[in-house]
Symmetry: D2
Subunit: 284 residues, 4 copies
């Protein structure tokens, strides 16, 4: 992967946006190595993502951003520009299920994940040894009915101390308080172990088993205050049959959870996800 | 495909069922060309399907059934034995969407579907020409608020006149009355254009679009009095993205509907589906 | 679907192409409803497809093309611009297997396929009645060892008479002569009943069965003089098991063939496929 | 999972096998919790697998086997009976790619894999730390042109020292010598990073990229002397597009390799795979 700036834009659709933006980039001799557009006809909204080769530009990120700002103002753009050389800082949160955490840690360890996993927070001690082997700090923050507020205060301190860009709930079985959901809107990612909107809430595999579905799934989505209702980033499914009992569903589901979370997180880390209302545009 | 008798059994699980049944078959020199078993540990129920080569048996179906009856009694079996040479009689029901009907008609016409499609009933005239080309009678039975009871009486007469073994709602957009649901319990098959239990009821593609799911699906299930709540036979999904609008979902969904219905119906026609409670065992 | 002009471009990559093209479109107040780009880093080649709303332009297709030509020259572009209101003229070719033809005919009949199927050519009479029901001319052109050249001359006359834009080999089991392959390079589409490059040539399902693969597939590709070696447009697979015999593979494979051919053809008809060397860029 | 004996049989097909075997089991009050049969019509061969609850039997494994032996003789059976409480001993072999090893180690560590991973052998040192964290012995056995025979002698000593039941080549990039292939026929499992028979041999992702396929895959198969030609246990694929370069294929392929290997190995560990000629029956 080469070094790029990622320019991500959403704004009301109108004639000439692509011309304006690409002419701007081209006026700096910027080399666009990947470009994606989407015009949503239902909402009249336009979405755009450009990856521009760093080495092709005669100016740095801040100067480039400053030069672009007037265009953004003119078109009423929500936008950001990021540097692929500055990987996002990720805080993982987990409970007792290890498969998603182990999967992400290995992807990170083997260089597949363009992010820094800066800390892991858990309400249990179970995964300390695995996490510390990766030389990542592990924080045990137990949560129970009595200490809930204090526990979440501690977490928020940790998010700030580690300057978290992204929070990943890797099968973290606690509900984040509204303040955290708001503070990290569009930056907190959950993996839910069902094909949403089916089987939101607790024990989705048990519900899937009861209903007798022939496929089970997993959903990677942004966390919002409404449980399992946030914008969906990625989903996947796997076939099951009458011969699979609940433990089989749980086992088979793990692989789907890992895959959906890894893909969804990757999209986020590479600034490929644009949230609009309760939906996402994913330039995969 | 060779000619077989299909012996389909469900009963409380206990030691020795397979031995008993297979010894019975073997005592007639019956050649079992396909055998499937399932023991459901949660409910303590046992399911079994055997295909026995007709030519290997010295007796006919009725005599064979009579000989088996005492074993069925002894083990408290629900069972039936069918002859693969006697294809089931299918009545198709449709509205204006042609894709499922056209797909099933072609499978039938090309000899892929081991069934007789004996009639098509529709609340519209749209598909008469296509159906009649296949030399299948077409009955236009309009349904509206005023004539509902009369219309369903007409249908039930048609079901009886055509001695329907199976009723297939191939995107028939009317709800069958409870009496029909009961009379054809386990023999009336619907294709719903969503991955149930998500998006039950009307306009599932619109709901899927609103929710921003990344996969859409279809569900083939037995009709019960509770709309879209019956035992699921088969499901399938297809990937969609932000660039797909509602018309795209509808178009992409058609292929999934056709596939799920064709597979589910095939399972039913070959006596591969055993209903237990609100779930199915499918010996695919 | 709204009316659009489709501008499809491939050329050596360089800075400023998107800016140039989009500024050109924008200078006419052209509204780009869909835009896709791809820069191939290995070959240094750039690919682009824009859909521009007809009603947004003050000029017609020919004038718009004439105005664009100098830009195309400047950048060394291979390009074409088509009008979505002028559906391509398709000639289907088939032998005895009906599933792909029936599938395409129904998609066409129900308005899903944005093309005119102007004729069907077959070396057998089997599908005449089905085709003629659709009010499409059917030409029986038998091919055998003796008459090969004459038969292909007849076909080429038919292609010309019907002004075919696209030739679709819908399980047409004859090999087209080099002259036809060349004349219709990038416009003749075949469906091969295997996951190429596995099992090229005759009897792929038999070969798949022999090898014991756990998935079978189908490949939609452009026809070239090298049998089953042309640029791949679309592929798909389906799971099989030890319990599926050759007839099962053939039956299961049909659904995959239909799906891969319908998708691949759709991409072609909408000018979404750009051939480069022996590979394709598909802006799906 | 409950404790079971697994009785796995293959023999020439004839009337009465199921009756014979199930009557035998039933005569001991053996409770069959899972039963699978397959009759291969092409070869006239019969395959069978029964899982019998240990606690339902009044005798131990050896006595049960001894009692069954005469039946096996009578029907010319190839058979074995294993105890689910005696997990197989697995030796992993790897080179520098860590994803398959890390995946299997985590499955083992989290209790998902019913096996003992007793040692890891590699021609590189790279994975020593990861393996030793799991408290599994790691043996570095470099292989080069000069020491090949000596190296493989060392390996065979290790296989024997660890009493390996299964050898898993988890992206081990060396070819095993014929003697090892023969000694571990049906017990050495490889994951090949292509959808075989496409792209056998070296650099399959490069070949897939060159050919422009639209899906890439992985194949889990038994090792034989003919490279990548052994009986296939499991395969899987993932969709790719023109925008994926070779590194993308390699990255996407890793997830498919992990999945296909984990599933294939699981089938083997649970005695669900029966090899016949160069094909497998997999009672999944």
């Amino acid at each position: 992967m080469e070094d790029t700036y990622r320019l991500v834009i959403s704004c009301p659709d109108q004639v000439g946006i692509v011309a304006k933006v690409s002419s701007f980039v081209s006026s700096y001799q910027g080399w666009i190595v990947e470009a994606s557009h989407h015009a949503d006809r239902m909402t009249g909204w336009f979405f755009m993502r450009n990856e521009i080769k760093v080495s092709s530009l005669p100016v740095g990120l801040e100067e480039f951003k400053a030069a672009f700002a007037p265009i953004a103002d003119e078109y009423g753009m929500q936008w950001h520009m990021t540097d692929s050389r500055a990987p996002k800082r990720v805080v993982l949160m987990c409970s007792k299920e290890s498969h998603c955490v182990a999967d992400l840690l290995h992807r990170w360890h083997s260089g597949e994940l363009s992010a820094n996993i800066v800390a892991v927070i858990s309400n249990h001690e179970d995964m300390r040894r695995m996490v510390e082997w990766h030389e990542i700090p592990y924080h045990h923050v137990p949560v129970n009915r009595e200490n809930k507020q204090a526990a979440f205060d501690t977490m928020q301190e940790l998010f700030e101390r580690y300057r978290a860009d992204v929070i990943v709930l890797a099968r973290y079985m606690q509900i984040l308080p509204p303040a955290v959901c708001q503070a990290y809107a569009g930056r907190a990612i959950n993996i839910h172990h069902s094909f949403l909107p089916s089987f939101a809430g607790a024990k989705p595999y048990h519900k899937a088993y009861e209903r007798g579905v022939k496929l089970i799934g997993a959903t990677c989505h942004y966390v919002t205050e409404d449980l399992d209702e946030g914008p969906i980033i990625e989903q996947d499914v796997i076939r099951v049959s009458h011969s699979d009992n609940i433990n089989d569903l749980i086992r088979l589901g793990k692989d789907v959870e890992k895959a959906a979370l890894a893909r969804g997180l990757r999209y986020h880390l590479e600034d490929r996800v644009l949230v609009h209302g309760n939906k996402t545009v994913v330039f995969g």
